[in-house]
Amino acid sequence: MTEEQRIVLRNADQINPAKLEDYLQAGGYQGLEKARSMSRADLIAEVKKSNLRGRGGAAFNCGLKWSFVPTDAEVTYVVCNFDEGEPGTYKDRIIVQKDPQQLLEGMAICGHAVNAKQGYIYCRGEYPYVVELLNLAIDKARSKGILGDFNIEVRMGGGAYVCGEESALIESIEGHRGEPRFKPPFPGVSGLWGKPTIVNNVETFANLPQIVLNGADWFAAIGASKYPGTKVLTLTGDVENRVFIEVPTSATLREIIYDFGGGVKCGRKFKAVQVGGTSGGFIPEYLLDTPIDFDSMRGIGATLGTGALFIMDETRDIVDIVTHIAKFFKEESCGKCNPCREGTFRCYEIMDRINRGRGTLQDIEHMIQLTKVMERVCLCGLGQASPSPILTSLQHFRYEYERKLIS
């Protein structure tokens, strides 16, 4: 059986999150000290070699991303994506609430690597109580002089899901509508206020202190070889234990749901699990022995995404749930690009029709065609990923759709 392995949660419930001294006693800020003894190039090379891949969902090699920042840039920024808007996800909240200093240390390490003096944490508006904790943590670290000349500020989002997309998030920090930008240029070259900017997820930053301290080889040897390390997962829905866990990325869905989650609630049978948040794919029972790492998930048409696992038992109506999800995307589409604005609207319209027992086979065919277009041409990840729940549920649970069609 796979055991939990805690890297980013190693201090969880072991220290008082409000106390800087506790974090220091647990070895905190040794990673930053070591990072600052290294040259910027060596530090980036080390992070690259560890093969730490972005934990927000896109799984891009973290060190490689850092290497895009021009070395002669005078002003650069480090931005932490703490928007965590993906329904069913609360792992970043847990990571920060249990150990806020670790996030600050990770950001400061990145700051050293890309020569940034200013960092921003973009925290979703739903977490005002975490903003308080973060501001307290920043004050304490600053008054002890630990962060040196690296300054961190917290900014609060306003309940817009699309702001989890890095360029939309940047627009929001600038005080604008949170609409994604055209890429390229990527933020690493031109981001916040047109300056080179690194945007990483909370969990990505939180991994850095231990990676720097223990070395790239140590990290690269944990879990799946192509997506090494651990992943913090959150279990929701019809599972006995709705918990958060941190496991090596080689763990399988079945191990997570049954060994850690205690199986399906009330002794019912398993029907499906949606992995990666509300934009993730629906996975049936026969694929549960797949490891959770990014590439294995992609191999079965799913995505690891944020690491949220939403479990549904045999009594659940998949079409009703997907209709609900389609409504979410219709609401959250920012409206900047036509394929997403119109596409999410029509997807919901068709899903709602099918869910009410008024859909036809042709509706399903039209929807499939529409979603294929959206996957290819929507401007950002929101529109591109929004078809996934529809397509994967059609692939694995088509009979649930068909039984609701007009006969």
Binding site: G85, G88, T89
Partner: protein, 148 residues
Amino acid sequence: MEEYKQILNNYKDLPGGLLEAYHAVQREYNYLPEEAVREAAAVFSVSASQAFGTATFYSYLKFDKRGRYIIRICESAPCHIAGVAEVIAVLERELGIKMGETTADGKFTLEFTECVGQCQATPVITINGVPYTDIKPAQVPEMLAQCR
């Protein structure tokens, strides 16, 4: 009007401070008055359309007066299957208003929200930003009674 101005001015020199300023006004008034948005355009030297553009983009910012207790109910999938519809039914019945409305005495407002990141114990509602988890319909009257 003077008070908005002071709050807005506090953020005037903060880079990208417009959204932060809106949050600050809403914290004070429970909503974002339209006049404050017009004033913000002047304070931040942006056009009225830009000031309104930002203000209307974020679902957290509301232009209508709201109650002292803002109850937001999560309608994301995990709360949906956990039976949030029954919680909504009781809230609407107890308060005599529909979702999106404010009670005549200005005490309660009911709003939908998407996931508030407390999915370990669904369904979830928040009252003035504080999350309450694992809500059972039967608990609702008591929760409302405690809002004074």
